[in-house]
Symmetry: C2
Subunit: 344 residues, 2 copies
């Protein structure tokens, strides 16, 4: 394992994505977002994706530099055709559009079409919150990602459909970023490689029996992932449907049909200025944070933290100490850099 | 137990609330909403609340007939002072405001202040969806309802904070209406009266230990309720915070301070017409419903249903067969009717 600085990794990523055909400013956005996810401790959405994103650009599934087009618009809404540019490029652009519309129309909703993988969902909600707005974000996936069963079913019909929200405070924002499924596919793979069992209620085998052996997920025949909530999984299913409606259906994409897009992103912004007022809002958010974090901890817990706190702490630590990158991940990044002619 | 028709119960309720000082049209709204909850099978939010609501009006905590005032407004937002009128009266009015703003501004957000108990949250989301809009609804409660712990805590800091959404189809809407807590207080009371244990992970005793004996909740000292999600309760906590931000903070209410209001309601409406188009949206919702409900069931399940389906089935059944009302509930309703001089 290596410890590398965020700055160095951003430079490496920008170099690779530029060499794959992205304009330098767009290459920098992709590198920044992936490094930011690594800084926040979300390694599965971090620099380990450098190689995957670069491969996709080389194969033409990602189309670097393609201009983003608003295909339908009102003062408070937009549908953005992302044109299969890098997901973080289009998603960040959508965040800027919804923030501007949210400032002007006070409530706004922006939805994407033809988007690649957007990476960590919470980052876009944070970007909108940094402009003084409350943001809800949802991202569905097209049919190839449908590993999650509806409650009571034994075939996948939804993706892990994450839901995020961010709200500004006088300090760091509150950021919730959660999957509506019990477990990510990447986590199942990791536990299988380590020869470990899954926690209960996470997956079903192909016959719909709840099992803890990760091999039952990969089959063949392929198993499925449960919606979030254990015995209340119907709530996780309901939230997964909410994400599907926001991220897919409002953009005009049929759930039952395979589409070439990876993530259907929906961003909603609400302007506190015209409700309780932005300064009062931030003051009340600080009151909320204090009220929560001063709760005496239950046995087995050392503290109560707000959503996002662990990620901001990881960010501080990794900014100071460096980002840990697995040897194999680094070997692949170096190989990709060499392949596209980037000296790192 | 009695089986009574919805029509008769609406007449009884309207009579009682009118006799408690409500204008007849507002009395009818309260009765309609409570009877509607009973029809949908949600008895805890149904006609068993007739007596409680009437008591509150007689004691002055509910102020029948008080006009609702918009205290701050833009084309897409409003803060409504509910003036402690009956919760269903103000909440239905808010639903009509957000639907109108949603039609005109395409995305809208309406928030209440000084609201009494709104009853079943999903009904307001449904009302907005019936006008061709997607609706998100959230309702927090003031500090006296804070029985739910933040994840990892052992003192209550949030209420059961329900979250709802509704979306139109070509048939019945999809309606999710869920608590962000593991269990309702009323359910704990019921199981205690029946001498039964709670499912795991629902409550903690006053020391923060997870227990299944409902008596540990009532104490003294008083216990607490867990956020929804079992081992992933941090997600339920995060969703509870989302409800708090929408229903309380955006309206200017500090979470840590006791307020006289019961429910802080927030309604958000999105107009599909300016996104994929309303007809296309309904067609895609039907596709979503079919794709979900045709999933082969897992062992132990007979079918996959959409959120709201069981409630609509209960409604059909109870419209045909009558609404079951417990003898004691009916005795109290009759007594209240006599007290306020209503012949039923």
């Amino acid at each position: 394992m290596k410890l590398l600085t965020a700055e160095y990794l951003r430079r490496v990523g920008t170099g690779i994505f530029t060499a794959c055909g992205a304009p330098p400013n767009e290459a920098a956005i992709v590198a920044e977002e992936l490094v930011e996810a690594s800084l926040m401790g979300l390694d599965s959405h971090g620099v380990m994706r450098f190689v995957q994103y670069a491969e996709e650009a080389l194969e033409g599934r990602v189309q670097p530099g393609v201009p983003l087009r608003i295909v339908k618009e009102t003062p408070s809404t937009a549908i953005v055709d992302c044109g299969f540019n890098f997901g973080p490029v289009s998603a960040r652009h959508m965040a800027d559009i919804v923030a501007e519309k949210g400032q002007q129309s006070n409530v706004a909703c922006v939805i994407g079409q033809n988007s690649n993988h957007v990476g960590r969902l919470g980052t876009y909600a944070q970007r909108v919150a940094a402009q003084g707005l409350v943001c809800l974000a949802a991202a569905n996936s097209s049919k190839h990602g449908h590993w999650v069963v509806p409650w009571g079913g034994r075939e996948g019909r939804l993706a892990t459909n994450p839901l995020a929200f961010a709200a500004p405070t006088r300090g760091q924002p509150v950021v919730l970023d959660m999957s509506t499924a019990m477990i990510a596919e990447g986590k199942i793979r990791l536990l299988m490689q380590q020869g470990e069992s899954l926690p209960p209620d996470c997956i079903q085998d192909a016959q719909g029996n709840r099992v803890t052996d990760p091999k039952a997920f990969y089959g063949p025949p392929h198993g499925t992932i449960m919606p979030f909530g254990s015995q209340h999984g119907y709530k996780g299913f309901g939230l997964g449907l909410l994400v599907e409606v926001l991220g897919g259906i409002l953009a005009g994409a049929a759930t039952s049909v395979e589409h070439p897009y990876v993530n259907g992103l929906c961003l909603i912004a609400i302007n506190p200025e015209v409700l309780c007022g932005l300064e009062r809002f931030k003051e009340l958010m600080d009151d909320l944070c204090t009220y929560m974090t001063t709760t005496p901890p239950a046995p087995g817990f050392s503290e109560v933290v707000m959503p996002g706190t662990y990620e901001f702490r990881a960010r501080d630590r990794r900014l100071a100490e460096g980002i840990p990158v697995a040897d194999e991940t680094w070997r692949q990044i170096v190989e990709m850099a060499r392949r596209v002619g980037v000296i790192i």
